[in-house]
Symmetry: D2
Subunit: 360 residues, 4 copies
């Protein structure tokens, strides 16, 4: 039985209203899919298991992403990480594959799988037109998972894409969050959304794998000062990938500004972007699409939000990011991984009691 | 009588110990000076007053900065601002003038004053050697001050430099903080420091002029949700300049990493780096100096901290930045400015009561 | 009598057609103005002269730039320089003052003058709305000029703006180019333009003050290998500012891509972006304007060129930049400056003979 | 029989002396290895062939790169490309795997192979320490090669590493250059080196796959205006990867400055960094190594070159880059690829005659 999300428990952070599902899929058309891999127990046998990993994919729309790209931007908060595709997003301001999140050493294989997917949809790639830019993010799930094994295959990635859907998003120990650790507790996939005063929606989805337990905050409550995990965490070597979606018509520069507020959302949960934490944001807009190699010179005429209205979107980014991280903690379940390493689920009752105490 | 700093009131944020003075001047050799300009009352007469402004200077050392530069880095958190000198710091990794903070439209005149100062120390500038790169930061104090008047003159800047000293730093409504507004309250200059576990000191000094009142947090206490200023603030158009000093031997790339944690310190106080807020960080190290145009090819051999030890410095940056902002609020006094605009001092008793209530 | 431009002498570089004037003013609406300051002779008396300097202003349009901003971008090729305004252009993608070019140490005073100008047009600045972001570029004219004197005053800047006009642009020893040195010869202001195959115009204007004489190329002719200036140049401490204008509808990201091709244009003339050379590009589009603080959320709907058509603009940038540099050399006249320093005009007859020889 | 390098034919570009081999391996300790894949003929059968591709690896030293990293930097000239590893190099200033160059869609598989290699040398990766950051560059060889087939396997990458050696470097149609096209002619791998006046060596190695034929320059000779390939090239969709090595003791910031001069070297050959060309530079120094996770706080004390001496290194970068590109053209042989596409070898006799004519 799935654990409850933070709001279901009775805790609220932020002030803006959420979307209907409080998920990245509140941005119309966005799809999310997971493949979760759990097998084996006991001692690590590198290459064989135990396996606690997976892949999560986010699709800006359900069409052909190579032929109809989404405007996009990226930002590196702390660059100790191995994402792919960032250079081209910076130059051209768009994404042309699903965004795939996975385990660090698995990035190459997931890149390769996205190539397979793109070719299956657009067989002209690399023959009659340009090649394709796979966008892969990762965090290091090696505390629980046989990371050297790189267990996510092309079939797993294609299955995640095939299963991707609008609607409610599975959170916690699923997909790329299966083996991750956050603030010393079991982390995972989390999502949230906000509707700004201008009516636009911002959704966030995170793969949480960062932080020292003593730093954890839930809203104004310094949880980490009072509640420690039963097992000591090793040095903070985690990371976080944050994906933002919005239906606000932003160009790439403006989407980059949205990425710039992710760091405030992370800091609200206690992060200081540790040395070993590869923290990366990706943002895309669903408000318009960029067709691949259209013949006309000046076909694009997107509506672009006024710069002055961006504060509203900024607040939505901060709140959605914060709550997505917290949702990943509230929904993730205690997991036993390689070498019997355990990462415990955040003890919700204790947290709730503490939050109530601090609420005065 | 000066208002008390946050710790003097009995409130503590963060976990690392402070330096002796809890100020940027805990980094040995660093000097700070202010010139404060207050004159006139009543209706704004653009160019004439009322004047509520000034200039604050930070010197990495007391010697000739042009001939013995400090390793340095800059980072732009939100670029809606007008600092000077950033391009050269990015390229060469050093600063060669005092860092001067002032009112936005006054940047040109303060740049000019730093040229005067540099020439007075190094008459060879622009004759027998290169020119000099003045580093000026600013925030917009127009709510209280006749900003169009640009009342900070060369004499004021030279006086601030002449008065710059080690030791305790005046805070609140002094120098560049005379007319600033922070979270709807009177802001100003604030400073703080931390000593990391590796024994290195990090100091921060801020010119605080940003934020919406409802967002203010003092440590875990959401002050802004409970205590509103008596007057409504206009739209958030402020900014913040943050100067970091450390005695840790960092190269420019590592100092840039320190700058990257300022955003977490700001977020702890409630910031989301608003659209209209020009938020900029400057960091320098006092551990070694870079001589101007030395004849030898490979004279530099600085000790450089191990990358793994930077988490300790990062925490120091976050905590010092947070507390410097809060100190600016605790020490600033109610100020009446142009057009009888008032910005009230943060009501310390109310805040203290709230903090105690939230501390459970 | 003015010296002839390169094409008037009979030398052509590049392959695209020029605009009618072969100047940045071929982009409709763009205005250029200069104030040229020449006085005194003989030994340098710092602060008094001799004076060989000035200011050049480029206006994207003749209206109120603060209220109707131009989309813009900047790029730093080598950051050893002191431009102002870059951070805000990067964040917001627009310029809101004339672009002013001047002598390095004069940047503060010219910044201040642009504030005066902006306030004179828009008295609401810093009172009922935000402040303004002056964009100033510079190169170091200290070999000929009393740079410490900072002789360009507010009146000079306002005069340059008042005199700014569409039509033919004065080149060589005018405005900000009065005292500059390029490839060991007298440099100065130069301009050129190209019309791409898509019908859009790109114009470039440079303040040339860089390069070692042996590196100079005129098209395919390695002039510097054969023709040396009569006097030895000191170490390359120059710089170059390059301003690009286009009527192509580009957003800020695309304008940044245009800036990225300036380096190829410079390299064609022989540059390798020396350590001491502050090389900076600014680009703006006249195709649409961005109104200041409009109330509507999504008013902008600019046509944006297709990415695939940018190669055409890139070639125009490269060729216009190259020819603008060469025009600055062809039109600048022998100048005697401080301490009787002389920088000779490029000997056009010798160059022409050499170009013909190399043309086989 | 191998085709002659440019200097062997009698053409010289630049003015600095080359190293002994005029190759990146003139930087002591640097190793280069290739695996070249050529099979099949006739019509493209996607996934099956014909195969004209490969992988080239560059090792900063022959030891364990993960445990002893090389200081490094990257720069993106035009970001239309899919390299991996750039974010971490920017953050940490080092590389910890061989640099591998390959075909665009093959990047994922080569990333995966570098993980295998790193684990084989350092089995602690992802178990008792951090993961590893594979550095892969690519260009698109789809005009001649079955790019969808991704024919470079882990075994091929490991073979290239195993065969990597100091000494002379195979050029032209080898390794990652097997199927590339440059200025409409057959491109490939090229290398060159320069010794600066300060005694330091700079080496460059390129995978050339860019440019329009009419733009090609050999030194000052505009070859492309006179000599066209027998077959028309499609639109410029190529790219170039440039790897720089030096024994000069540079920190990451200074290595980034070296990368910044690659664009001048490319421009000398005629490049304007076309829209579709992913142009990326990587630079590393062999002067010192960075040990992985050393326990001491301040163990690093590298000698760092004086900034003023960098002009010498800049010239070496420009000349080595230029000649590496030209060597790739001079050494590559006519290649028939998929769908009987042909890319012809640069006709050396014609070029030599033209160069002599232009030399007057």
């Amino acid at each position: 039985m799935a654990r409850a999300r933070m709001r279901e428990v009775g805790i609220t952070t932020g002030e803006l209203p959420t979307g209907r599902l409080n998920a990245i899929t509140d941005v119309a058309g966005v799809k999310v899919g997971h493949t979760t891999l759990v097998s084996g127990d006991g001692p690590l046998r590198p290459g064989a298991g135990p396996v606690r990993t997976g892949v999560t994919v986010i699709l800006p729309h359900g069409g052909n992403l190579f032929r109809e790209k989404a405007p996009a931007a990226v930002q590196t908060i702390n660059g100790f990480g191995k994402p792919t595709g960032f250079e081209q997003v910076r130059e051209l301001g768009n994404i042309e594959t699903p965004i795939a999140l996975t385990s660090t050493l698995n990035v190459g294989r997931v890149f390769d799988a996205l190539v397979d997917y793109a070719i299956s949809q657009s067989p002209e790639i690399g023959i009659r037109t340009t090649s394709v830019n796979p966008l892969v993010g990762e965090t290091n799930d090696s505390h629980l998972n046989d990371i050297q094994g790189r267990h996510v295959t092309t079939a797993h990635v294609l299955a995640a894409i095939a299963s991707a859907a609008e609607g409610a998003v599975a959170e916690g120990c699923v997909g790329a969050g299966t083996g991750t650790v956050c603030y010393g507790w079991k982390g995972g996939i989390g999502t949230a959304s906000r509707i700004g005063r201008t009516g636009y929606t911002v959704g966030a989805l995170v793969q949480s794998n960062f932080g020292a337990s003593r730093d954890l905050c839930v809203g104004p409550t310094p949880v980490g000062r009072h509640i420690e995990p039963p097992v000591t965490a090793p040095a903070d070597r985690g990371s976080i990938m944050i994906v933002l979606a919005t239906d606000a018509p932003c160009d790439a520069r403006q989407l980059h500004r949205l990425c710039g507020r992710v760091s405030a959302g992370l800091a609200r949960t206690g992060s200081l972007y540790g040395h070993g934490s590869g923290d990366f944001a990706v943002a895309f807009s669903t408000a318009y699409r960029i067709t691949h190699e259209a013949p006309d010179v000046a076909a694009m005429r997107p509506a672009i939000v006024r710069e002055e209205s961006m504060d509203d979107l900024f607040r939505a980014v901060v709140e959605a990011t914060e709550e997505a991280v917290l949702n990943s903690l509230f929904t993730a379940e205690t997991t036993v991984g390689r070498d019997d390493h355990v990462r415990y689920a955040l003890p919700v009752d204790d947290v709730l009691a503490l939050v109530r105490r601090y609420a005065g």
